[in-house]
């Protein structure tokens, strides 16, 4: 990749420094190895190979790695499991990808203080299972939780199906250990429930998408495990009344854990994968879960059934047991990938609006799809206002692809007009950086840039992600 001889020599020096630091088996350089880290789960993307991929085994190696990168001005791209949906962890030309997978220990589960201390490479679902065994509960459950890493979750402030009641990853971070681009180790937060000592630096790194530092430890808050859950599935002839139910449930002062919306295309795709006997001719499906004490959930689920029925639900069924409920939720998590059965390129968006605007946002998405004559499937965590309209296309059909892209530009603007955001839980990465200024404004963007410049003066950490300097 480097034709310039002096650059090539510099690269050799850097490679030998990395080999000495981590051991050559943890410094990948072959073309084949670069190819398999040239992407994340964002579509459509032209793969971009890094110049090396490294697998540090501990904090000290990351400290030294960043010192080297800072000295030689090498772009550093941190990566967990590569399940991001906004090109936040896709490599940059000449960059070194830093895999966090070897730092994968749950260091402590503190039942007395309801916290867990983890390394960033721990898989989200593994932590959830581990704390559950202690009668505790870690609520954030991104769709990819079976493989996503907690470090990645913090870096994009990932949401999930339970966001409605419990919030997103950032709501559970109470402390971090971060390596700054200079190699300095920054500790933020602690186990205290209250802490107002200075700026809230943890929140600076939550959602920073690897542009400010590399997270090496995460202190997470936990909750006691709820006594019970009840899960219901409601069907509708059309998506519009389903969207109305979402708004009505919130207006009725009920906060379910989960309130998921799937349109007909999504129902068909998920059923093709999971064979759960979902009604493939239904216009829309709502998956609703409440949790808490027995007395409370029984009352809530009855009210919800009533709201569904008064919005012309064709049927409302309560899952017979937790196994069935879990199957439904697991199937829901596969929606995006299942859509790829129909069309190879599934362009996923992440617009979020205030919850009372859900019916209007759904209407707008459908109008825009019609206007540009493109197929847009709709699913999402409707209960927290977060929708995932998904453009169904084939990247090889460039004409249709450009219509889909234009349609999404309009969908972003529609969300902003409704007081919403261009991304609820996936982040900006490269994919949405062109639209970020429209949402945060000039002052907002300048403030972000000045933070970036003061922490990372040489612009080595994931440069060009979120915004270009």
């Amino acid at each position: 990749m480097l034709n310039n001889p002096s650059k090539r020599k510099e690269q050799d020096i850097i490679f030998s420094l990395l080999d000495d630091l981590m051991g050559s088996q943890y410094v990948l350089k072959s073309k084949e190895q670069m190819l398999v880290y040239a992407f994340d789960a964002t579509a459509p993307v032209t793969d971009q190979m890094p110049s090396a991929v490294v697998l540090p085994g501990n904090r000290d190696e990351i400290v030294e790695l960043l010192k080297i990168a800072n000295e030689y001005h090498i772009p550093i791209v941190p990566r967990g499991s590569g399940t991001g949906l906004a090109m936040g962890s896709t490599p940059l030309p000449g960059s070194i990808v830093v895999l966090m997978n070897r730092l994968n220990k749950i260091l402590e589960i503190d039942s007395a203080n309801l916290t867990a201390l983890v390394e960033p490479g721990v898989i989200t679902a593994e932590l959830a299972t581990a704390v559950e065994q202690e009668g505790l509960f870690y609520p954030p459950d991104p769709g990819s939780m079976s493989i996503s890493t907690l470090g990645g979750n913090v870096a994009v402030n990932a949401g999930g199906l339970r966001g409605l009641k419990y919030g997103v990853t950032g709501d559970f971070v109470t402390g971090l250990e971060v390596i700054l681009p200079t190699g300095d180790v920054l500790l933020t937060g602690n186990k205290c429930k209250k802490d107002v000592a200075g700026y809230n630096l943890s929140s600076l790194f939550i959602g920073s998408e690897g542009t400010l530092g590399i997270i090496t430890q995460i202190l997470l808050r936990l909750l006691p495990k709820p006594e019970t859950q009840r899960t219901a599935m409601a069907l509708f002839d059309d998506i519009q009344p389903a969207a109305q139910v979402v708004a009505d449930i919130i207006a009725a002062r009920i906060v379910p854990v989960t309130l998921e919306l799937l349109d007909n295309i999504c129902i068909q795709s998920v059923e093709a994968h999971a064979s759960l006997g979902l009604p493939v001719d239904a216009g829309a499906l709502l998956l609703i879960e409440v949790d808490g004490y027995h007395s409370q959930v029984d009352g809530e689920i009855e009210k919800i059934i009533h709201i569904c029925q008064s919005n012309k639900a064709t049927s409302v069924n309560v899952a017979k047991d937790q196994i069935h409920a879990n199957q439904l939720k697991a199937a829901r998590r596969t929606t995006l990938a299942a859509l790829a059965r129909r069309k190879p390129t599934t362009i996923l968006e992440d617009v979020t609006v205030p919850r009372d605007k859900i019916p209007e946002m759904v209407r707008k998405i459908r109008e825009i799809a019609q206007k540009y004559d493109v197929e847009i499937a709709i699913f999402g965590h409707a209960g927290d206002g977060n929708l995932h309209p998904t453009g169904m296309t084939d990247a090889r059909d460039t004409e249709e692809l450009s219509r889909v892209e234009t349609a999404f530009e309009e969908i972003y603007l529609a969300a902003l007009e409704l007081g919403g955001t261009i991304t609820g839980e996936h982040g900006i990465g490269i994919k949405k950086r062109h639209i970020l200024p429209k949402q945060v404004g000039e002052i907002g963007l300048d403030t972000m840039k000045s933070i970036k410049k003061s922490i990372d003066p040489n612009n080595i950490l994931n440069p060009g992600k979120v915004f270009e300097l």
Partner: protein, 436 residues
């Protein structure tokens, strides 16, 4: 819409026929849901040992970003072919077809580089010894003698370099008679007769695990099915297909279609999951063969695994005695992932009087056998086998049941190496025993 450029991509840097289909490759949207289900990824945590990584490499070769290089070959051959990723894949990417074609490319390339003698030996193995159920016949007396004199205990094979080192420890106790010589070419049904089926006896199974085939014929007969066992049938073709010899696999498919058509049976049954899965692939394998395509589709539609067939003809006829055993079951990959058969083996087991079924954790994970994988990648296979045995050891069971030849051999090897007092057998062997 397909432009000329996209047509060109279907060949890319693949220089031989049977390239992985680009149209299928692009359906991988890289969500990563396959990663936690992949046994090789669980061992290395490296993307290149994951289904998503392998698909990215296949795609890169299609897009002329990479070659069928040594590292490409290693990545493809490190795959067990267990197809757990295919079960997990929401997008429905047919990984099994893609990896077979990628390996075909690798094998074609390696053929040109390998010493001639090795190619001859490889051909001899695939085209003669393992081509049909009788290829191993000449070796059997020697193997029996070898075991009778306990020479196998000296473990001399470990001195052989390469994939065959240590094979004798895996070798099961060689039975006195093969399936064919025990059963002949027809087993009558106990009346009233309910139907007539063909039985595939398998290349390894016929000689090394003939107890499986004999039990299968017995259970079928007891349940009113006549069993036709054509002598001139050949291996199902799974073995050559897995190691990148698709042409030989096609040849075997055509031959079996002819043989079973001539025998006048519609339904062809195998009791080895790897074989029954392969029989169901004939339609796909011969999709571009005008003469055989329709016959292959029909053949595959009527091919069944024994566990599927028996559970379709539930309940089994009366006459079984109580076995009084605690049994656990390990899903063969090519049954659960390759054919989606999960419930039927369990239904069969609990239908046997006196059997208590105890679920084995991670029963859907590969045991490491994976065709010839335990010979070519012994260390990885042993790591996976150990994982399996660690789960097994925690259960209080008498029997570990399975439903495939390779798994049978691998699991029995694991149990004996670990000194666990657990019997390994096929589900039909338990049913057959209960009928005695």
């Amino acid at each position: 819409m397909k432009t000329d450029a996209s047509k060109l991509l279907q060949i890319g840097n693949y220089i031989f026929e049977d390239a992985p289909s680009y149209d299928e490759l692009v359906h991988c949207m890289r969500c990563g849901f396959c990663l936690p289900t992949c046994p090789t990824f669980s061992l290395t945590k490296m993307e290149i040992s994951s289904p998503r990584g392998r698909l990215a490499l296949m795609r890169a070769v299609s897009e002329q970003q990479a070659e069928v290089s040594i590292e490409f070959a290693e990545a493809m051959n490190f795959c067990l072919g267990c197809l757990a990723c295919q079960t997990a894949c929401p997008a429905g990417v047919p990984f099994g077809h893609l990896i077979e074609k990628a390996r075909q490319q690798v094998e074609n390339k390696q053929k040109t580089k390998r010493p001639h003698l090795l190619n001859i030996l490889r051909n001899l193995l695939v085209k003669k010894v393992l081509y049909g159920p009788h290829g191993l016949n000449p070796f059997m007396p020697f193997l029996r003698l070898y075991q009778a004199l306990h020479i196998d205990k000296l473990n001399l094979s470990r001195l052989i370099p390469g994939p065959m080192g240590g094979w004798e420890r895996m070798l099961p106790k060689v039975p006195l008679k093969s399936t064919h010589s025990s059963l002949g070419d027809f087993v009558a049904a106990i009346p009233p007769v309910r139907g007539r089926v063909g039985l595939l006896t398998g290349c390894i199974e016929n000689n090394l695990l003939s107890g499986m085939g004999i039990a299968t014929a017995n259970v079928l007969s007891k349940n009113g099915f006549e069993v036709v066992i054509p002598k001139n049938q050949v291996c199902c073709g799974a073995l050559p297909a897995h190691i990148g010899d698709l042409e030989i696999a096609r040849e075997q498919a055509r031959r079996n279609i002819e043989v079973f058509e001539a025998a006048g049976v519609e339904i062809v049954i195998s009791d080895a999951a790897g074989c029954s899965a392969q029989l169901k692939e004939y339609g796909h394998l011969l999709s571009e063969d005008p003469e055989y395509f329709e016959r292959a589709i029909r053949f595959s539609k009527n091919a069944q695994d024994i566990t599927e067939f028996l559970s379709e003809h539930f309940p089994l006829r009366k006459g079984m005695r109580s076995l009084n055993l605690r049994v656990t079951y390990d899903d063969p990959c090519h049954l659960i992932h390759g054919q989606g058969v999960y419930l039927q083996p369990r239904e069969l087991l609990i239908s046997i009087p006196g059997i208590e079924l105890i679920e084995l954790p991670e029963s859907s994970w590969c045991c490491g056998s994976a065709g010839t994988y335990n010979l070519t990648h012994t260390q990885t296979a042993n790591d996976l086998l150990k994982r399996k045995m660690d789960h097994l050891r925690k259960l209080d069971v008498d029997v570990l049941a399975t439903a495939n030849t390779g798994c049978y051999i691998q699991l029995a090897y694991g149990v004996s190496e670990q000194n666990l007092h657990i019997e390994v057998c096929h589900i039909v062997e338990l049913i057959s025993r209960a009928y005695k």
